[in-house]
Symmetry: C2
Subunit: 194 residues, 2 copies
Amino acid sequence: MSTPRPGGRSARVVASVHRAVVDLISRGDLDITISAVAHEAGVNPTSIYRRWGTRDQLVLDATAAHLRRNSSTPDTGSLRGDLLDWIADVEHNLGTPEGRALLRTLTTADDSPGHARDVLRHFGDITTVLDRAGQRQENPPTPDQVLDRILAPLTLRTLFDLPVPEGYGRHLVEGLLASASKVPEQPDPVAGHI
Amino acid sequence: MSTPRPGGRSARVVASVHRAVVDLISRGDLDITISAVAHEAGVNPTSIYRRWGTRDQLVLDATAAHLRRNSSTPDTGSLRGDLLDWIADVEHNLGTPEGRALLRTLTTADDSPGHARDVLRHFGDITTVLDRAGQRQENPPTPDQVLDRILAPLTLRTLFDLPVPEGYGRHLVEGLLASASKVPEQPDPVAGHI
């Protein structure tokens, strides 16, 4: 898919189609069709098929764009500060009915390994945060550890409507940083493979 | 919902309706309707509405019953042994296309807080395992810690089709046990609330 010129007609179509997808999902329509999106956006279904190909590609693209717009890449000067800023953003995004509905849609939108991982990256550019911490010799966790220890518990509680208490994101970040600061007691046979 | 007599007509209806739900979901129909289930099970839709009330209640009940049938409550004599047996079962269940489809359906089936947590319990009677470990003075983790540290990473990877390497469940169990065996470095402000 080519990137449309900002402000051109093509960019306006992309923006209105993206907004239609997010609006429909936010209103509870988890099983949206291309014709429903076309109707909501006021564009021809053919334009949608031509640009996005399939319904799942459209949902993934629109959801990823929405998450990107709502995520920042914090740069506070310390790993702890960056992770705390980042998780506050993620908690805020997932805490809305819209965020929860988008997350649920993501988990059913595509079966191709790798696609969802690409989308996960749009919860914020966490890789840049970890790279910068490495340059500062802060011994940062791996992206997989951030996924497993911080993002997974938060998203699972969001998906299943379990309680997310005040300060829960901070609790997850501190837990990961505390275990990273300890000397490992035994070699980890899996760490090299995930 | 009253429990049907085993072997009676009512029990046969429940079994065939449950099987129809699991079969339809396993074949990729994530947005099943009561009429589709009635057709697949060969029963009258009215019987389904009378017993289950709504489509979401039916899906939750059928999915929970299926997970219960596929889960055991290990009793190896040690917390580590029990957790390793349990996570092997969970990995096996979630590793099939059927298990992945059921998990995805669960996350979109109901918005009522508490319902999904009841279903999570059917990943195996993990509470009994933890209680027994407590009686043996093994200082077991809390159910919330098991959810966050073991079940969440595994289910998130399953939902998003991320790789689940061989030995991953064991890796999660050992990580949780290792951090439980350390003296906490600071009071945990959230632990009492989750």
